[in-house]
């Protein structure tokens, strides 16, 4: 009881409440603007969190995360252009509804489904996060090494259709993270006698460069200054209760799919939304209406993509292993705040874990209010001229890179990463695996070498530990499964 009251006290401060509201509003705005997405949104607000206390900083980041997943659906409905990839499925039913004049009710459906899906995922995070953290307390460096290797399979997940470039991108991320002092012996590696590089390359400037800078440079390349800006306005109307009753099953199924998919490494909200949409299309009584503006499809995909937000944090908080670039940025933000995600977080800093649960619940409710009150206003952001938007995003992103250590070298690293990101994207190399590799590399190396010390240099002993063996087998299974499926299809 004391803990709950303490948690409520922490999140009920004016600053925390302001950050929740501001984060959610900024997140929705970022989601509404096509192409920006959750990672760019989080990168933009990151510098504002540097000097904040932990809870308000997390409130801001979580608000942006949840808000941006929801915000993309507004553009998907009114423009048939998903603001974020996770809203692509929403456009299939939302836009036909808008065309027949039901945009306001479509926004009502997605706002309610997003909120309920998000709340369901908090419940899953509360139950699964604590359980997973308790389970992982038994882990030795060997299990952590196996876990790190397993988490690398998410690179395969985010590289669909470009496996070799994706793996190469991930390997480059693993390599870049080794620059600086060796974590075991302290020897310097790949620093070329540069004092600045001896502290290594930090994650945030690389994220700023690969995601925010490269996106803005490519936008600049494709900009059309003469293009007319969108002038759509929509309202918000909640569907009647009797319409909901027949769709509760769809909502529950979408939420469960979202939670399950979100906890898997390398999947994310877009995958969850498409799986839930196709499942809804297969099982719905109104399946003949799909593609013509059927709310079943909206409820399924919006509850699924928002249910990812809580469950994706399960491995991030409980094990310190991010499943996608969004949670990798969240992990970076937590580390800057002095929080070390992992099982110890649940034993030594349980107040903060409870605060995260409570923040997510409140943010999902704020998201509903934001959607209900602000939907007509959010579409106005589409009228901001793109050149102005690019300049503003670049300034805030530069501050994000600079502010981590107050070091101009980080700005140059971000710029270098931005140029590299442009070439990588033009070459068909996804940039997300690079970041995932960079996040996982220290954990994999440290646990591998500590494990080798424990086993006196015998790597085969790694396979004698049951949990590690299971993780190695699952990793092998996940890597070999696509090959097996292709072989069966050909056969």
């Amino acid at each position: 009881m004391e803990l709950i009251l303490g948690t409520l006290g922490e999140i009920a401060t004016p600053l925390a409440l302001l950050c929740m509201v501001a984060g959610t509003v900024v997140g929705v705005l970022v989601g509404v603007l096509p192409g920006l997405g959750s990672v760019v949104g989080l990168t933009m607000v990151l510098p504002f969190t540097f000097s904040m206390p932990q809870v308000p900083a997390l409130a801001l980041m979580l608000g942006v995360y949840c808000g941006s997943v929801y915000g993309g659906s507004i553009t998907a409905i009114i423009l048939n252009t998903p603001g974020t990839p996770q809203s692509a499925a929403t456009a299939m039913e939302g836009f036909p509804m808008a065309r027949r004049g039901d945009a306001d009710i479509a926004i009502g459906w997605v706002t309610a489904a997003s909120t309920l899906g998000g709340l369901f995922s908090v419940l899953v995070l509360m139950l699964a996060g604590s359980w997973l953290a308790a389970f992982s307390l038994n882990f030795t460096p060997i299990e952590y090494f196996a876990l790190g290797v397993f988490a690398l399979t998410c690179i395969a997940g985010v590289s669909a259709g470009a496996m070799v470039p994706g793996l190469l991108s991930g390997a480059c991320g693993l390599l870049v993270a080794t620059i600086g002092a060796d974590p075991v012996t302290g020897d310097l590696r790949f620093t070329f006698d540069s004092f600045e590089l001896s502290a290594g390359i930090t994650l945030i400037p690389v994220i700023v460069g690969l995601f925010a800078y490269s996106e803005m440079f490519l936008r600049a390349a494709r900009i059309d200054p003469s293009a007319a800006r969108e002038k759509n306005r929509v309202g918000f109307r909640l569907p009647p209760l009797k319409e909901w009753r027949s769709r509760l099953g769809m909502l529950a199924r979408g939420s469960v799919i979202g939670c399950f998919v979100g906890a898997l490494p390398g999947t994310g909200a877009a995958t969850a939304a498409f799986i839930a949409y196709s499942e809804a299309r297969r099982t719905s009584k109104r399946r003949d209406n799909f593609g013509k503006g059927e709310p079943d499809g909206l409820v399924a995909c919006e509850s699924a993509n928002n249910a990812v937000t809580g469950s994706a944090l399960v491995p991030t908080l409980a094990l310190g292993v991010p499943g996608d670039p969004v949670t990798a940025v969240m992990l970076g933000a937590l580390i800057i705040q002095g929080v070390t995600p992992g099982p110890q977080l649940f034993t030594q800093n349980i107040e903060l874990v409870y605060a995260i649960f409570a923040l997510l619940i409140v943010i999902n409710l704020i998201m509903f209010a934001t959607g209900a009150l602000g939907a007509p206003l959010f579409t106005q952001v589409l009228r901001i001229p793109e050149p102005l938007l690019i300049a503003m995003v670049l300034i805030v992103s530069t501050l994000g890179a600079y502010g981590v250590r107050g070091n101009m070298l980080d700005v140059w690293i971000a710029l270098g990463a931005g140029v590299a990101g442009v070439f990588m994207r033009l070459a068909g190399m996804p940039v997300a695996p690079f970041v995932i590799g960079m996040v996982l590399s220290p954990m994999i190396e440290q646990s591998l070498r500590q494990g080798l010390v424990l086993t006196r240099g015998n790597f085969l002993a790694f396979f004698e530990r049951p949990i590690a063996l299971v993780l190695f087998l699952v990793t092998a299974g996940m890597l070999l499964w696509p090959l097996f499926r292709r072989w069966r299809t050909r056969g």
């Binding site: 510098p47 504002f48 000097s51 904040m52 259709g161 470009a162 496996m163 070799v164 470039p165 793996l167 190469l168 390997a171 693993l174 390599l175 080794t178 012996t185 020897d187 590696r189 790949f190 803005m216 440079f217 490519l218 600049a220 390349a221 494709r222 900009i223 200054p225 001229p385 050149p387 102005l388 690019i390 300049a391 503003m392 670049l394 300034i395 530069t398 501050l399 502010g403 107050g406 101009m408 700005v411 140059w412 710029l415 140029v419 442009v422 070439f423 990588m424 033009l426 070459a427 068909g428 190399m429 590399s441 190396e445 591998l448 070498r449 500590q450 080798l452 010390v453 006196r456 240099g457």
Partner: protein
């Protein structure tokens, strides 16, 4: 079967860039590999954990293998290739950010950001100068005020004025 040369969504430029990027990565990997033979400490030599370059060599081997595969079989990209004018605009913006970064060190955050926020949209083809100047002033002053006074994060200062 579609090839890079016949598929309009995967123009030949993308293939050349893919090969160029892979070759650049391979060259960098070769340079880093040569660094793995650097002198290491006596403690590192005695460690059961196999020394500081044990793990990077594994990764370098993977990078080399994957880089070679990408040179031999570049994957078509979904990213549409920018036009010549577009590439010039993007290159100009990269240079503008580089000048902005230099300006941060030399002239401080507020002056360099104001200049960047006014000139970058102009360079990108937005010609409504009054709107640009107003947005730049409001945006830069708000960010500067928030950081310096609310978040107490010291931003780069100009050498000419006290306070900013």
């Amino acid at each position: 079967m579609k090839t890079h040369d016949t598929d309009p969504t995967h123009p030949p430029g993308g293939r050349a860039i893919a090969i160029g990027v892979a070759l650049a990565i391979l060259a960098l990997a070769a340079l880093l590999f040569s660094q793995t033979f650097a002198e290491i400490s006596a403690f590192a030599r005695a460690s059961q954990g196999r020394g500081p370059f044990f793990y990077p060599r594994f990764i370098l081997a993977a990078v080399a293998l994957l880089g070679l595969l990408m040179v031999l079989r570049p994957v078509p990209t979904d990213e549409p290739m920018p036009s010549g004018a577009g590439l010039r605009r993007a290159t100009g913006l990269v240079l503008a950010v580089a000048v902005y970064a230099l300006g941060l060190s030399l002239a401080g955050f507020l002056i360099s950001s104001l200049l960047f926020a006014c000139l970058a949209p102009l360079f990108l083809g937005y010609r409504r100068l009054a709107v640009t100047a107003l947005v730049a002033a409001v945006f830069c002053l708000s960010v500067w005020y928030l950081f310096e006074n609310a978040f107490l994060i010291i931003l780069p200062r100009s050498p000419w004025f006290d306070g900013f």
